[in-house]
């Protein structure tokens, strides 16, 4: 049995092992063999994963020892900032919530590292790749295990950096470098909101930002002087940070472009882990967010809108990774809908199942792209099921999971979120929950449709593969992670069965109990079962439509629809032209301002008048005064005499 003291001591090792891998691969990787680089990168994460399981067993032991309150393990490394007005420790916190995140992140990372060995087998710089990937895991663990908001923010920025580095991993390609830059800049906008919220909170708490402290502070009435307005401002600015990192309206635009990175990166960073950081942050600070009903309604609304909006774009994309990217944005919307209606447990549950099935989908897509020698256009695929049997089977399982077919994991988590939205009457307005539910249900229909459109176009029907390409199943290092993740995507939902059967919810209860009590949900099991039936029907409907349109008898219909609804179709293909809108409204005025500052302020005021002007004055003065220096000492003496006389006249005159 793992004692809590031992488990606590494991925490720094869990965090530092990936950093060790990153440093070794980053500094010496160029001299190591390709095999050694991959093994080192993967082994550190697997070790970290094993230690994580042990540490979580420690929390489990603590939870069952019958102690009061939330079972927590805190490892304090050192005091980071110590002053009367601000005190922050470098400390790691493992409680039920971070336990769940820890297992998801280290587990999924471990298998994606394994997959990367196969996927990056022909790449030119595997050491750089594995160094970045390990560094990412380090930053993500810092984010999850950080005991205070500033430490979480360090991890938050760290994952942003690694995301940038990995999106632009193939930086010789200008488009990929630009995609990385876009991701970084959009994230910076969100982070700006985050840091404003952090400083405001700092002001009100008197300089302490540890999560256990904040929770006790909020519980003991620390929020009372914030008068509802400030708490709304704080939580909204923090949520702005979440919309950046977790790709929600209006800052979601970077995620689809982020697909420029290697596919395992898309699976790990841009599907399973980093993009869920916003959900984690809100779940972590649940006691603050429930005190701001307006913020909660906004979060749920943004989540529901994003779920529907991104799904609508996903309907018509032809790039296998783009479809998955919009699907990720949409699924993240569901998570925000969940936490926004106060169902924190359901949000985290969906985060977990999504990590499984979306990582599996991305890795499956990677396997397909690998087999197709880099082709990503699903119009040039088809009939791959027999060529890639393992990829096909795992992809199908994950599609069923995301579509919400019963027994697969996505069904339980998505259903719980939709039910909680439907049953929530404590939002801003009582009918708001029903509206969000309707939006979510619409998104679910589209999700089932576009996922199976993707599935049918890729794996079924007649092969449209070009003659020159010979698809082949991927090596074991790639198929093993696929099978593991597909297994988890199938059974992961059983952790969160509805009602009394759930394992996950009682586990998270100590963290969310107080917050979930604040939110009003009218629980009625008859309604729950009815809604379940509705969403299953909707999912089946979506699948059947996709089947009829892409492998069934109506294969000419998509083209006809596209022709008949030309305007709408073009709008969807152009992603609602949001990028263009941002370009016109934000980027172009910004560039104009920058151009003005460059041409007028910089070139004329600073360079011409300031720097060169000062130089010209000195040079001109020197040139004039030069004539005074004749070298004739007698003239100098005459000058001295005149000066003396003038001075004398002034002093004595």
């Amino acid at each position: 049995m793992i004692t809590p003291a031992l488990a606590t001591r494991l925490l720094p090792f869990i965090v530092l092992l990936p950093l060790f891998g990153a440093v070794v691969n980053g500094l010496f990787g160029a001299r190591l063999s390709r095999r050694a680089v991959g093994l080192l990168g993967t082994a550190t994460i697997f070790t970290s994963f094993a230690l994580s399981i042990l540490a979580v067993l420690g929390v489990y032991g603590l939870a069952h020892a019958g102690a009061e309150g939330t079972p927590r393990l805190v490892f304090t490394a050192w005091s980071w900032i110590a002053s009367p007005n601000l005190s922050v420790d470098v400390a790691f916190l493992l409680d039920p919530l971070s336990s769940v995140m820890l297992l998801i992140v280290t587990g999924v990372s471990a298998f994606i590292h394994l997959y990367s060995i196969g996927y990056m087998a022909h790449d030119r710089s595997p050491a750089r790749y594995f160094a970045y990937l390990n560094l990412f895991v380090f930053a993500m663990l810092l984010l999850i295990l950080g005991e205070s908001l500033p430490l979480l923010f360090v991890g938050w920025e760290g994952v942003g950096l690694c995301s940038y580095l990995l999106i632009g991993f193939w930086f010789e390609d200008m488009d990929k470098a630009i995609a990385g830059k876009k991701a970084f800049l959009v994230n910076r906008i969100g982070d700006f909101g985050f840091i404003i919220g952090l400083f405001l909170l700092l002001y009100f708490t008197g300089g302490k930002l540890g999560f256990p402290f904040l929770e006790a502070w909020a519980r003991d009435g620390g929020l009372d002087p914030l008068h509802g307005v400030w708490i709304t401002v704080i939580t909204l600015t923090l949520f702005v940070g979440a919309t950046g990192k977790s790709a929600q309206i209006p800052l979601y635009v970077w995620l689809p472009d982020a697909m420029a990175g290697p596919t395992p990166v898309s699976a790990l960073i841009h599907a399973a882990t980093m993009v869920t950081a916003g959900v984690y942050m809100i779940a972590r600070l649940n006691f603050l967010f429930v005190a701001a009903p307006v913020t909660m309604a906004v979060i749920a609304g943004i989540g529901a809108l994003t779920a529907l909006f991104a799904a609508s774009i996903g309907l018509v994309q032809n790039d296998i990774k783009k479809v998955l990217a919009y699907s990720t944005v949409s699924q993240l919307g569901y998570m925000f809908l969940g936490v926004g209606v106060g169902a924190f447990g359901a949000g985290v549950f969906h985060l977990m199942t999504h990590a499984f099935f979306k990582a599996c989908l991305f890795l499956g897509a990677g396997s397909v792209i690998h087999a197709m020698s880099g082709e990503q256009d699903i119009r040039k695929m088809g009939g791959l099921a027999s060529r890639l049997p393992i990829t096909h089977a795992t992809f199908l399982v994950s599609c069923l999971a995301i579509a919400g077919i019963p027994i697969f994991s996505g069904f339980f988590s998505k259903d719980e979120i939709l039910f909680m939205a439907f049953g929530n009457t404590g939002l801003f307005a009582p009918w708001l929950g029903k509206l969000y539910f309707a939006l979510g249900l619409g998104g679910a229909l589209m999700t089932a449709f576009y996922m199976f459109r993707l599935y049918f176009l890729t794996f079924k029907g007649e092969s449209r593969v070009p003659e020159t390409v010979h698809p082949h199943e991927s090596p074991f290092s790639m198929t093993i992670p696929l099978m593991v993740l597909a297994f988890l995507a199938t059974v992961g939902g059983f952790l969160g069965l509805p009602g009394e059967l759930s394992v996950l919810h009682p586990w998270l209860a100590p963290v969310f109990e107080a917050a979930e009590k604040v939110v009003v949900v009218s629980t009625d099991h008859a309604v729950e079962h009815g809604l379940m039936g509705v969403s299953v029907l909707v999912a089946l409907l979506g699948i059947l439509i996709a089947r009829s349109l892409y492998v069934g008898g109506n294969q000419d219909l998509p083209a006809r629809l596209a022709a008949d609804l030309k305007g709408l179709y073009a709008l969807l293909v152009d992603k609602w032209r949001v990028d263009e809108l941002y370009f016109a409204v934000v980027i172009r005025p910004f560039m104009a301002l920058a151009g003005f500052l460059h041409r007028v302020v910089d070139v004329i005021v600073i360079d011409l008048l300031g720097v060169n002007g000062a130089g010209a004055v000195v040079v001109g003065l020197g040139r004039t005064l030069r004539f005074l220096q004749t070298g004739q000492t007698q003239q100098y003496l005459a000058g001295i005499l005149v000066g003396l006389v003038v001075l004398g006249a002034l002093v004595f005159g």
Binding site: Q629, T630, G631, Q632, T633, Q634, L637, A638, L641
Partner: protein, 101 residues
Amino acid sequence: MIVPIEAWLAVVLALFAIGLVGVATRRNLLIQLMSIELMLNAANLALVTFSRWHGDAEGQVVAFLVMAVAAGEAAVGLALVIAFFRHRRSVLVDEAAQMKH
């Protein structure tokens, strides 16, 4: 007969003015040196005059000191003039303007 202090001071002023005008107007370094000596001696005379007038010997002591320093100064000055003459074959001060360029 007691000569009034104003008369002494008039001589001091005259000596100093002659020295100053000499330095300022003559181009010959030797004459400039002599003019400087004149100014030093004017100062000495002033010191001695005020010493007597105050009935205090200190001024006369300083005057001896100035004479000693003036002797050293004359030696160094003459050495410089000779070095300059060797270099330029001239003792005219307006020849010494190379540092300007």
